[in-house]
Amino acid sequence: MTAHQSTDRRVVITGIGLTAPNGNNLTEFRQSLLQGKSGIRKVNVRYMGEVLAGLCDFDPLKYQKKKELRRGTRAGSIAIYCAREALADAKLDIGSIDRGRIGVYLGITEHGTVETENEIYEIKQYNYDIRYWSHHHNPRVVANNPAGEVTLNLGITGPHYTLGAACAGGNIGLIHGVQMLLLQEVDIALGGGVSESTGSFGIFAGFKNEGALAFHENPERACRPFDKDRNGVVVSEGGCIFVLERLSDALRRGAKIYGEVVGYAINSDATDFIFPNKERQVECMMLALKRAGISPGDIDIISTHGTGTVEGDAVECQAIKEVFGESPHACLNNTKSFIGHTMGAAGALELAGNLPSFEDHLVHPTINLDNLDPQCYLSNWVINKPRKVDKVDYILNNSFGMLGINSVVIVKRFAA
């Protein structure tokens, strides 16, 4: 995965489609990140009442018929929107390429929770008579649903599935796409992640009863990773799908190249259901750096995972400190402070929002970081305002999840 390898052993990003609570394409999203624009607001959730969340306002009818919307899931709609936008961005005409050589690999935190809750709510109105349980339930809740809806919408006949990887899902969807390209399983990989978790009261209630659901009188101030006053997660929906191609193919068709995926790693804590493990996070970052053939000092931006939980943020910072030192060369930022935790989409969205830095040399900030928690001290946080830097050659993107799944992706500015 390094420059000395042949172009059919290198994988590049040639298209990006996304929807986030503060933008429905990369340009809008990037502008929001540079301008400090949050996407968090008050919403009403069944049984919960008013909670804080990030919702997306893309137009699902841009790429779907009303009937498809009625049949499918929110995650499916998000995935279709992102996939279509990504292919358009990559200037790939779906009608003129071999759809049997496209793979769809989407990371998810969970899927089916929303649909199951909805069905139980529905039959409750009929005294739990299961004759009122929808025949659409099973195709909606199968784990491959979001990726499968993409193939139905686009007529893609290559492989499709989701990768259940908790909140590391977005990174892992991308990593899996890279792996399938290197294995020559497909010629184009649509890799990334999606989440519809804001439709589930259970996700909110779970965080709340765990003491990890963020609250602030001003919704836009609620998600505050690494701040002393952080008090939990803001649940959001979203999606981000990358078009991934082997460099040889991208060069042949003259594609725009956002960056080259030069390193990645996935490992497991094997220690706890929810609490992170610093040593395993260190190992994960070190393995990604090793595979990229670079040292910590080569990284220019560290896109942190930090969700706003007391324990999780502190452990990540300690892990970063161990790998990069207390005063790293790399700038550090965090995207969740703007959009909340987009769960399965988080890793992909957080990477996407940083990729324009290769060209504009601006590092978007972390917002709501008013009083840096001493446990999270690192000297190079970019706080509240973007920072202009001389160059950005490497971005490292952390994404971790429950059950102790860690993932790291390293993307390099493309140089032929």
């Binding site: 018929k65 009303k66 009625r70 009929y126 025949h135 659409h136």
Partner: protein, 83 residues
């Protein structure tokens, strides 16, 4: 309900299930599925809506009787006349 009212109800339900389709020229004596995109899962939605709205239970063996609009009205008339 009168036959016309039953027909309106059926068309309204179908319109809700396949909202992208134009139902204005639907012929009463030709199978609905030959005229518009309505698959077996959509058909089950019609059965479900009749159950939810009117408590009507259509046995699976009777599904073919609902193939056309006219057939549906004839089948449902005795079940809905007192609604």
């Amino acid at each position: 309900m009168t036959r016309d009212q039953i027909k309106s109800v059926i068309l309204e339900i179908i319109g809700q299930i396949i909202p992208d389709e134009d139902l204005s020229n639907l012929k009463g004596d030709i199978p609905i599925r030959e005229q518009v995109e309505l698959d077996s899962m959509d058909f089950l939605d019609i059965i479900m809506e009749l159950r939810k709205r009117y408590g009507i239970e259509v046995p699976e063996n009777d599904y073919p009787k609902l193939a056309t609009l006219d057939g549906s009205v004839a089948y449902l008339e005795p079940l809905m006349k007192n609604l």
